[in-house]
């Protein structure tokens, strides 16, 4: 092995060690303005790599106008659109603020954010509370019903969850994930087991701390009716686990993957916080009755952070039921996805295993060198948004990360190692 190869090998071992030794704990729910002093009024954090208003897709624009009205920065959606076009708002990626957000991923100062602390390294990561299914802002929804729900999350559920989580002294998440994998979740498009496990832990504490029985009943009903409630917890966990692995000189491991509906972006440990972007692809999957690929928007969201830590499409072998839901083939082929992703990863996670694959650990730590060499692109399980603002989710599917991101990253990474072609 050459000196360069040895350096990369050692750096990647350290990057993987930081992910695998992480101890993520859900410690509370906090208002964004308190948690993120840099996040000012008029700043809107979005999913994916940086993007201007002019290049935003329909659902992203729909969410931006909706959240601007919610925050009181615009009188109505038309006013919000005019102001956005006139440059009244500042747009930045969630990732620049220790945050992540699903699909459109709107994060603004008034919202309540779930907080995950990585106890091993002390860092914090944030994600808003999952809104449920149907017409929601993460899919570009922005009408009164959508805004009222976010208001309720902010005013009622967020504080109630915070009190319950603090009453419990925090909720360690690794064990929840380990159990969820044995119950058919992959934590991206299937979170029914983890959502139930979380609710089972939360319910007694919510009962102890809720202001009244009616509030308690509404909180329990909301969480219990949302199979994807745990997704946002898993995302904050993923961000908390990958952030300590950023900026390791010589590491070719991916530390973030995300999409904004226009571009797909990745970050690589050895190249710091530089984004490598390429046009995002269209998910391939199944559509709800009445919709087709003609209605679909290209892929969106910071949720691919779960694939970055070995879940989602990388843990498909644990979740045969999701293969059918997202139209990725036969349930018996679920393990094929996981094995393929193992070809581009540096390690298996011994704590997160898949029983039906003889307790193989989920493949962890994407190496850009292996992606470019094999041509196997990371597989991401995803929801599909309608391309028009305000319509919402129209299906679910699988999307591949675009090759261009990894090829650009490889060239830049090589330069950091003093290597040219």
């Amino acid at each position: 092995m050459t000196d360069i190869a040895q350096t990369i090998d050692a750096a990647n071992k350290e990057a993987v060690r930081r992910i695998l030794s992480s101890e993520p704990v859900l410690i509370g729910v906090v208002r964004a303005s308190e948690a993120l002093p840099r996040l000012k009024a008029g700043t809107i954090l979005h999913a994916g790599p940086p993007i201007s208003w002019e290049r935003m897709c329909g659902p992203m624009r729909g969410a931006v106008t909706g959240i601007a009205v919610f925050e009181g920065w615009a009188s109505d959606l038309d006013d919000a659109e005019r102001k956005a076009a006139a440059g009244a708002f500042t747009f930045e990626p969630n990732h620049h603020y220790d945050c992540v957000g699903p699909m459109t991923g709107m994060t603004t100062s008034s919202q309540m954010l779930m907080v995950v602390q990585n106890k091993t390294f002390g860092n914090l990561a944030y994600c808003a509370i999952n809104e449920g299914l149907g017409k929601v802002m993460r899919f570009g929804g922005n009408d009164r019903e959508v805004l009222d729900r976010i208001r309720w999350l902010t005013d009622v559920l967020g504080p109630a969850l915070d009190a319950a989580i603090k009453d419990m002294g925090g909720i360690p998440l690794k064990a929840v994930i380990a159990r969820g994998l044995t119950m058919g979740d992959e934590m991206h498009q299937r979170n029914v087991a983890c959502s139930s496990l979380l609710l089972r832990q939360l319910a007694p504490a919510l009962a102890r701390t809720a202001k009244d029985n009616e509030t308690l009943a509404k909180c329990l009903t909301f969480i219990g009716a949302n199979d994807q409630f745990f997704l946002n917890v898993a995302m904050a966990m993923g961000k908390a686990m990958t952030d300590p692995a950023r900026g390791i000189a010589g590491s070719s491991m991916v530390t973030a993957m995300c999409r904004n509906g226009t571009d797909f972006g990745i970050r690589v440990s050895g190249t710091g916080d530089q984004w490598f972007t390429a046009p995002v692809e269209m998910p391939k999957g199944l559509y709800f009755p009445g919709y087709s690929e003609a209605d679909a928007n290209p892929d969106m969201g910071d949720s691919a952070i779960v694939e970055t830590i070995g879940l989602g499409g990388f843990a498909m072998g644990a979740a045969p039921a999701v293969v059918g839901f997202i139209g990725a083939g036969n349930a018996s082929e679920a393990a094929v996805f996981t094995r393929a992703m193992g070809e581009i990863c540096l390690a298996d996670n011994p704590e997160w295993t898949i029983p039906s694959m003889d307790y193989k650990g989920v493949p962890t730590g994407i190496d850009i060198r292996l992606v470019v060499e094999t041509g196997l692109m990371p597989t991401i399980n995803t929801g599909v948004a309608h391309k028009k603002p305000g319509v919402g989710q129209v299906g679910a599917g699988v999307v591949k990360a675009p090759r261009g991101c990894f090829e650009q990253a490889l060239v830049a990474f090589a330069a950091t190692m003093g290597v040219k072609a």
């Binding site: 190869a5 393929a340 292996l370 090829e407 490889l410 290597v419």
Partner: protein, 74 residues
């Protein structure tokens, strides 16, 4: 009786041993297909057992990227 190529011409002499190529076609075919999946799909459609191996040239055949990978330990 002249000997004829059993593969090319169809041997008539019963004492002639079939060539390895002919033997292959006289037994059920088992196929491993490497690369283009279309070949595997065609065989599957005809009921031929086929194991497909997803493969493409390293770095998608890009010599510059392949050279970089070689210098980066791959």
């Amino acid at each position: 009786m002249s000997k004829r190529d059993p593969v090319a011409g169809g041997a008539t002499n019963a004492n002639l041993k079939p060539s390895p190529a002919m033997m292959l076609l006289m037994t059920p075919v088992k196929v491993v297909n490497v690369g283009l999946k279309g070949f595997a799909d065609e065989l599957s459609a005809q009921g031929v057992p086929v194991q497909h191996v997803e493969w493409q040239p390293p770095a998608s055949g890009d010599p510059k990227l392949a050279a970089l990978l070689a210098k980066l330990g791959i």
